[in-house]
Symmetry: C2
Subunit: 180 residues, 2 copies
C-alpha cells in the first residue's frame, strides 16, 4: 500500500501523476525532453540508460516500464537490456554506449563518483558533449523518478508481460499528459 | 573544470541551464513548482528540505544556494539550517518538520529506505498526504539536481557569502527562466 492515500489504482508513477497534476506537468515534460525529443543518442539508447539506472536503484516499476520502452524502440525481445544488465563490457553495444552506461552507473551512486578517466574514455569512443550531458541528466533524473515511485511505496506489477503495452505506448505516444 | 565544454562561466547548475535551454525549461518549471508555488509547507520549509538533502549528497553548489534561499525566506542568519545539519532532533522546528526531514534523509539514500513507521510518525505529528508527497518529491528531485551539477563537475564558489544574493533572488524572483 502506498504511504499516502491515492484516489486511483494506477501503478507506479502513473498513480502519482494522476493525483498530483501540478507536479506531473514538469515531470512529464522532462521525461519527454530527455527520452523522446530528437537527439544524436536514439530514444532506444536513452531508454536503455533509464532502464539500467532504474535497475541499479532496484525500482521495479521504472525498470520494467523503461526496459519495455527500450525494447519497443529497439524492436528486440529484451536481448539488449538483458545483455547490459549481465555485463556492460560484453553487451552488443558500441564502445561509446558502453562508456556512457558506465558513467550513468557512476551517476547512480553520486554525481561526485563520475571519474574524469571514464569521461575521457567516452570522448575517445566518440561521445559528444551533448551526449555526455544527456547521459548524466537521464541517470540523475531516474535517481529522482525511482525515489519518487518507491519513496511513496507505490505498487507495481511483477514480471515483464504487464509492461509490454505500456512500453510500446511510452515509445510511440510518449510522456506528455493528455490535454497538454 | 567541467567534464564538458560550457560556453559560459556561470557556476553550478546555472551554466548548464544556460547552455542547454531545452532541458532547462522542465528543470526550472519543476523547481518553481516544488519550492515556490503555494503549499501548506512554506517555501522556507521546502528550501530547508532541499538544502538538507543537497548537504547529504555533498553538493556544494545546491546546498549553499538553497541554504541561502531558505535563509532569505526564513529571515534568519542560517541558524535554522545549521541547527538541522547539527541534529534534526534538537533543531527548533516542529515535530512535523522533524519527521519530514527524517523521511527526506531516507529518500536521499533510496526510495526503498523510507520506513512505514517514520511515515506514521509524520502523520501523527500532523503531516498531510500532500506534505508527505512534496517532501518525498523535493528530496528525490534534489538527488537529481545534485547529480546533474556534480556529475558534470561544474565549479562552485566556496563559503556562504557568494550565495547570499543568489539565495535572495531564488526566494524572491524564483526559478523560471527569463522569457518563459
Amino acid at each position: 500500500m502506498a504511504h499516502i492515500h491515492l484516489k486511483n489504482e494506477l501503478p507506479g508513477i502513473s498513480g502519482l501523476l494522476f493525483d498530483f497534476p501540478e507536479t506531473a506537468k514538469p515531470l512529464c515534460d522532462l521525461a519527454e525532453t530527455l527520452l523522446r525529443k530528437p537527439h544524436s543518442l536514439t530514444s532506444g539508447e536513452r531508454e536503455l540508460i533509464a532502464a539500467y539506472v532504474s535497475h541499479k536503484n532496484n525500482c521495479n516499476f521504472c525498470h520494467s516500464s523503461h526496459a519495455a520502452a527500450a525494447t519497443a524502440h529497439l524492436k528486440d525481445d529484451y536481448e539488449l537490456i538483458d545483455a547490459v544488465l549481465a555485463d556492460i563490457n560484453t553487451a552488443p553495444v558500441s564502445d561509446k554506449m558502453k562508456a556512457l552506461l558506465i558513467i550513468a552507473g557512476q551517476v547512480q551512486q553520486s554525481g561526485l563518483a563520475v571519474k574524469e578517466e571514464d569521461v575521457l574514455k567516452a570522448k575517445n569512443a566518440g561521445a559528444t558533449d551533448a551526449e555526455l550531458h544527456i547521459t548524466v541528466l537521464i541517470a540523475a533524473a531516474f535517481c529522482m523518478y525511482n525515489r519518487y515511485v518507491d519513496g511513496l511505496s507505490t505498487w507495481s506489477p511483477k514480471g515483464r508481460e504487464p509492461y509490454k503495452e505500456m512500453g510500446k505506448r511510452m515509445a510511440e505516444v510518449g510522456y506528455l499528459r493528455t490535454g497538454q
